[in-house]
């Protein structure tokens, strides 16, 4: 017997509602401490270059500047990344995108910090930038990381796709393209770090404070329990606050100055530097019998992760395993390749590649319905995943597949609304 629930399922008032609607909520940018300094980041204005020299002497000499730091001031690991540690906290030698962090400053006022940035001289030599997938995979293209520009190539194989297509009466084939998108969370990234009694504390706007703790600890060569990471009230993220933003820079400045350091990104800086949605090109072939039974799907996907991997590998995998949509297709073959370029970094964005592939599976269903002169809802219903169905990864689904109910409820709501309009 199902237990009667008394709290779960109730529309209780959100824990943070009162503070938010009365404007009392404290966000990272609102933090203020005695002796607090303001941090700022010098960012690269070119997409690909090798740094020859960084001269910080004029910036250091500016009245009100308390610290100017570069890669050589990092005591531990100068690399961060959710899956691969491929992004420098401060660039040591190679600039891989516009917006790469080169030096950081802490000063008594925001204005002084900005002025100090303008006094830092960076000498660099530009190298050929790569902006397209096609150029990235050519043999003679310069390598952005390591020995290849291919971040990952993956293959999904289920059933026998060639045999599957042989049983098809209709096959549709299309290429889908999606754009690079920006999260545009309403609160730009911000945080404050302190260093007291051998302990670094970071208060920041983040989607994963425990990950931030690990990255700061590795940068400092501290044990993880000497870094405290506290998530402040966060004004949206949508995946864009999963990467390290201000945490490492603020912590490094606080450690060097022994004073609290606050860093708040401007909107433009936020949009330039935070991860983006992967633009993807997806070519799909899908076939069905004349009765409308889906038999085979063959897909190639190409994506550009930009200068750093971020959540890229997770986007590839998730996009691939969701590519059939919620339909049973016995024969599936998918090949996906993501490359590095000198474009802005792409990473996590609400849906991790699934919005991109949803466009494909729903577009293919519509195209097949047209070829078969069949209602597209009817075609969906013929092929819908049901309890116990097998996915393209060979997983047997459990009892909790509620899609058919979703469709019937949508249709009956439509009918109800049409009825009202007719009255």
């Amino acid at each position: 017997m199902e237990k009667k629930l008394s709290v779960v399922g109730k529309n209780v008032i959100k824990k943070d509602a009162f503070e938010k609607v009365t404007g009392k909520t404290v966000f990272s940018a609102d933090l203020d401490m005695e002796d607090m300094l303001y941090g700022a980041v010098l960012r690269s204005t070119v997409p690909a270059a090798v740094i020859k020299n960084i001269d910080t002497s004029k910036a250091r000499a500016l009245e009100g500047v308390e610290s100017v730091l570069t890669a050589k001031n990092i005591p531990g690991r100068n690399a961060v990344g959710i899956i691969l540690k491929d992004e420098p906290i401060l660039v040591e030698d190679k600039i891989r995108r516009i917006g790469d962090a080169i030096a950081i400053v802490a000063a008594k006022t925001e204005e002084t910090a900005q002025e100090a940035l303008s006094l830092i001289d960076v000498t660099y030599e530009e190298i050929e930038p790569i902006f397209t997938f096609d150029r990235a995979i050519q043999e003679d293209s310069p390598n952005i990381h390591g020995i290849t520009n291919v971040l990952q190539t993956k293959h999904l194989r289920h059933g026998d796709v060639r045999a599957g297509f042989e049983k098809c009466d209709v096959i549709v084939e299309h290429t889908y393209k999606t754009s690079m998108l920006s999260h545009m969370f309403i609160e730009p990234e911000a945080g404050l770090a302190t260093y007291e009694n051998g302990m670094i504390t970071i208060y920041s706007s983040t989607q994963n404070p425990h990950f931030d703790r690990g990255e700061v600890a590795a940068m400092m060569a501290f044990p993880q329990n000497k870094v405290r990471s506290v998530q402040m009230t966060t004004g949206g993220g949508f995946g864009g606050k999963l990467d390290i933003s201000v945490q490492c820079h603020a912590a490094l400045l606080a450690y060097n100055t022994k004073k609290p350091v606050k860093m708040v990104r401007k909107r433009t800086e936020s949009a330039m530097v935070s991860s983006k949605r992967h633009p993807m090109t997806i070519h799909a072939r899908t076939g069905a019998t004349k009765e409308g039974k889906l038999m085979a799907m063959e897909v190639t996907m190409r994506g550009d992760t930009g200068a750093y991997a971020s959540y890229g590998p997770a986007v590839i995998t998730r996009a691939m395993v969701h590519c059939t949509g919620p339909y049973v297709i016995p024969n599936v073959s998918i090949d996906a390749t993501f490359v590095y370029t000198n474009n802005p970094m792409a990473g996590a964005f609400r849906g991790f590649g699934v919005p991109q592939v949803a466009l494909v599976h729903e577009g293919q269903i519509e195209a097949l319905a047209k070829e078969l002169s069949m209602d597209s809802v009817a075609l969906r219903l013929i092929n819908l995943q049901h309890p116990g169905a097998e996915t393209s990864t060979g997983q047997k689904l459990g009892s909790d597949v509620g899609l058919e109910t979703c469709i019937s409820q949508v249709l009956s709501k439509r009918k109800e609304l049409d009825g009202k309009e007719g009255d």
């Binding site: 008394s6 709290v7 399922g9 109730k10 529309n11 959100k14 943070d16 997409p47 690909a48 902006f131 999904l156 194989r157 289920h158 393209k177 999606t178 690079m180 998108l181 920006s182 545009m184 989607q207 994963n208 404070p209 870094v227 966060t234 004004g235 949206g236 993220g237 999963l242 909107r267 433009t268 949009a271 995998t317 395993v321 949509g325 919620p326 998918i334 000198n342 609400r350 849906g351 991790f352 949803a358 466009l359 729903e362 577009g363 195209a367 597209s376 990864t393 060979g394 997983q395 689904l397 909790d400 597949v401 509620g402 899609l403 979703c406 469709i407 949508v410 709501k413 439509r414 609304l417």
Partner: protein, 334 residues
Amino acid sequence: MIRQGKGIACMWYGVGNTGLPNPAGAFVEVLSDASVNLMVGCADIGQGSTTVMAQIAAEELGVRYEDVNVTSADSAVTPEGGATSASRQTFISGNATKKACQMAKQTLAEVAAEVLQVSRERLKFENRQIYDMDNLECKLSYRELMGEMAKRGRLALGQGYYNPNTTMLDPDTMQGSPFEIYSYAATMVTVEVNTDTGRIELKEVISAHDVGRAINKRMVEAQIEGGCAMGQGFAILEKVIVENGKILNPQFSKYLIPTALDMPDIYPIVVESNAQAGPFGAKGVGEPALIPIIPAIVNAVEDAIGVHFYELPITPTDVIRELYHQQKLYEGIE
């Protein structure tokens, strides 16, 4: 001319990281006045996970929602929560919270059983009372129970963590079980396309989501509505323009997102399939909320003007270009 069209689309979404371990944890303490401290790693980024965790804890412990105070996402106080991503926190941190509460409840039940002289299995925790399910008169208030705990020098502490039951995918074929549970959705939209200006206006959305169980229905509906706003941007408005590695529109004046004025009528529908593995049957809705509206808009535009667009966003320029192209085809010029 205004042409109306309707489109439908479906989606599925695996909850949690794909074929990888991704645990989250929780600590709980029931205090002597029967109020509860819950410490979860889970970062609330506005979606309401803190509220969800408090509801789950209150339900499991048999106290009121107001009795639970949540401290979240502080690495000195809370255990690992993993990322607030992959629509995973209700499912994973929710299960961790439930397990932590079950552990605290075990101690509470031992003491209550001793005081009430009934077996632990017969005890129910509900509405701040602990009673014998076969004899409703045989009961203790939570405060009385906490008094008995104090007399015995016992503390009501619990910890729990949850890691979804998945398998690593085969490196060559990607076969395996990447997720323990999947959310589902179907969405139908109505659009109006102005064939003179190319503007697409989203008029109405019906969006049904299988969320397993809604821990808080109003918050699920809010997620669906927010997802519709964002999906509208994806389909017909947003694009980062990059030239030689440089973003040319990094501000709201040049990167337009939908505002309140762009919102259509939205009818969210909550479907509850009761996921066996979820806390009280819950799945996740954070990302599913966004997804189906995107292809639904594309399909509705096709229904309106007879053109299926394969590249997003569909801008007014794209619409006009395709209509012009269609006209030429019709006239036999091309």
